[in-house]
Symmetry: C4
Subunit: 221 residues, 4 copies
């Protein structure tokens, strides 16, 4: 299977899930004070931002993974479908948190659901990742496979952070949301100016992999 | 017509229909017990999962079919448009089942509608499939056409399963939903570890077909 | 500008507008008789079908036009944007008709709005079409340009049909909707078995044009 | 990273954000006078048009920028993600203006929010633009980089116009909306007949850039 159509479908689901988030920002109706109502919506804006960035960063990482793959098989497609199911559901926990984060009674429940959603995404992404890189199943080159898998060491951090966020929800819902935001930033980190060195060291791998992926695609044609 | 733009449009409809499903998961408002309300939403989650997987698996099969086609004609486009109409409507029966599956009085009606929707998809997909493979109309190669058509023997199973699901709706709505879920899994089966043999036997065909399809596309350029 | 990215954006808008239509099919809530309520929704299903097919057929024709274009310029992009604005709004008149077609008092108004929307699409499409084919502006080949423009003779039929539909809305809203459906079918006609001759005569043009378009694209690279 | 997948994701977000706007056009329910209600919706139509055109024009400019880029790096991806966040939120201020523009008390607030949204888009786009063109970071060719950057002189106009729109909101909300519409038209200007000269002078650059971009892409393969 050509990876291009898989990418088109995944990009579609990622882009739609991210853009549907806006529908959860509901215009206040019959508000006696619109300005106050708009300001009171701040948790909805915050969780919109966190969810959009999370989906965007998953997209970047998903794209990077697919660039390393010279082919995909049917089992990969189904694991990937599970990932899409979990990404596609994001607008629901996002709306839940936007609605309940300021509720004294239910904020914890909302953030637990959000954290469980994030955890399911992380687990599904790990599944896709390890299936693709294990035993050089989808990437021929052993060197690349080893280096890509090395990046997999970052996954426990994500799984840990989301688990911690779930626990934190019971103590402080806002801190829990902040942790989800930080986790998204953490995965974006290699891009920030601070890590220029890291990026440079990473560049040749990416280029090399792109070259090989392209050659793989050419061959598969 | 290049198949690439057809794929882009179809992928768009598939991805959007799948992602819109989440809008039917409505955040409980003014709930006295949010946790209980969220748990009470389980049928909505279940049907979200079944519908998303069903659309995803149709996408995989649709993609496989198009890989075998070296060209598409206008009549194919219109049959395909009918398929998209039936896939695009999926969020409606999904919402219906999510809302009424626990209603003693109306669960059967909701699942009958769901089954009729699934049946229409199966019929439309069969139409597209048989039009494309009949008389080597869209695939030049007789061997491939014969082998692809052989896969068509699976269609009566889907048609039968959905019809059974409609009947079952009157007896047990939950069993009916479970049957729809199993049917989705059945079409995904060639991917599961159990059927490694089947997959292996299938692989060369897929590769061969991809080769020919590519050559077809090159020629058509 | 490469036509491929323009196609991706247009396909996106077409696919989303078509798929959003389903959101106007609202699940009946607190209905004393769900079956009766679902049957009473038939106008919503009918207009869903008409709108989906209309968008699908515009997509097919838009795609055919772009295959003939060897390049697009910025003015084309903006005319095309106007077309997308009119296609993107389709879910609104669709919902209007679905809601009001059985209202004795307001069905005419709803169908007038629907007809005006369809008319705006036809006008915008004509604008894109004549800009692209006039003076061989976007298609170099004079023969192709002449033959493509000859297809433009069909436009007055669409403009006339939609205008008639608007007038008919005052007499019989259902007949008006039927006319919109027939217009969609009319534009799909070259695909039906009856017109095999027409299709055959058309085929070589399409192939030739695709060849030239491809060569154009190659050159523009 | 290949720019093609970045384009697919961005096009997705742009197309969805533009098409979701229609969901804010709500069909009047239980209206005693449907015609009057539909006419009273005119601000919603106007702001739908302004927002759709604004997103469409950002899409055109974004596409032009990416054509000049021979590669994108991860930092570019994240700046671009910020742009997508701001574009994805457009349906919210659009709905706000559609709902409140005729409210004596809250129209100003609605248009301030709309202007702030537009300003954030303009700032994010400037960030993407200057990052991509600075120091020939993403475009190798110094001549092209200089000429592309020259277009950047237009940005202060957009930033100024949106800031003025925010101030104007307090005086006349309608004038403020008109200014946002004019700003969209201003960025579309190079396409209008008047500026044929400008377009002609621009053409060779675009072609040249496309050539180089293509060659860049070929090389990166």
């Amino acid at each position: 299977m050509r990876t291009s159509r898989l990418e088109a479908f995944c990009d579609g689901v990622f882009a739609i899930a991210a853009t549907l988030l806006v529908l959860e920002l509901r215009v206040p109706v019959d508000s006696p004070d619109l300005v106050a109502s708009l300001i009171a919506l701040w948790p909805a804006y915050a969780v919109y931002l966190v969810s959009f960035m999370t989906i965007g960063i998953i997209w970047v990482n998903h794209h990077t993974l697919l660039e390393h793959c010279k082919r995909v098989d049917r089992r990969f497609l189904y694991l990937n479908l599970l990932l899409l199911v979990t990404v596609g559901i994001v607008p629901f926990p996002t709306a839940l948190v936007g609605t309940y984060i300021r509720s004294a009674q239910w904020a914890a429940a909302a953030l637990v659901v959000y954290g469980v959603g994030a955890l399911l995404i992380a687990i599904a992404f790990s599944g896709v990742f390890f299936y693709a890189t294990q035993d050089g199943r989808l990437t021929d080159d052993a060197t690349i496979a080893r280096r890509v898998r090395a990046e997999g060491r970052l996954f426990p951090i994500g799984l840990g952070a989301y688990s911690l966020g779930i626990v934190l929800a019971f103590v402080s819902p806002i801190a829990s949301l902040a942790l989800y935001a930080l986790t998204a930033l953490f995965y974006a980190l290699p891009l920030l100016p601070l890590s220029r060195d890291l990026a440079r060291r990473e560049e040749p791998l990416a280029d090399e992999a792109a070259d090989r992926a392209q050659r793989g695609r050419d061959r598969e044609r």
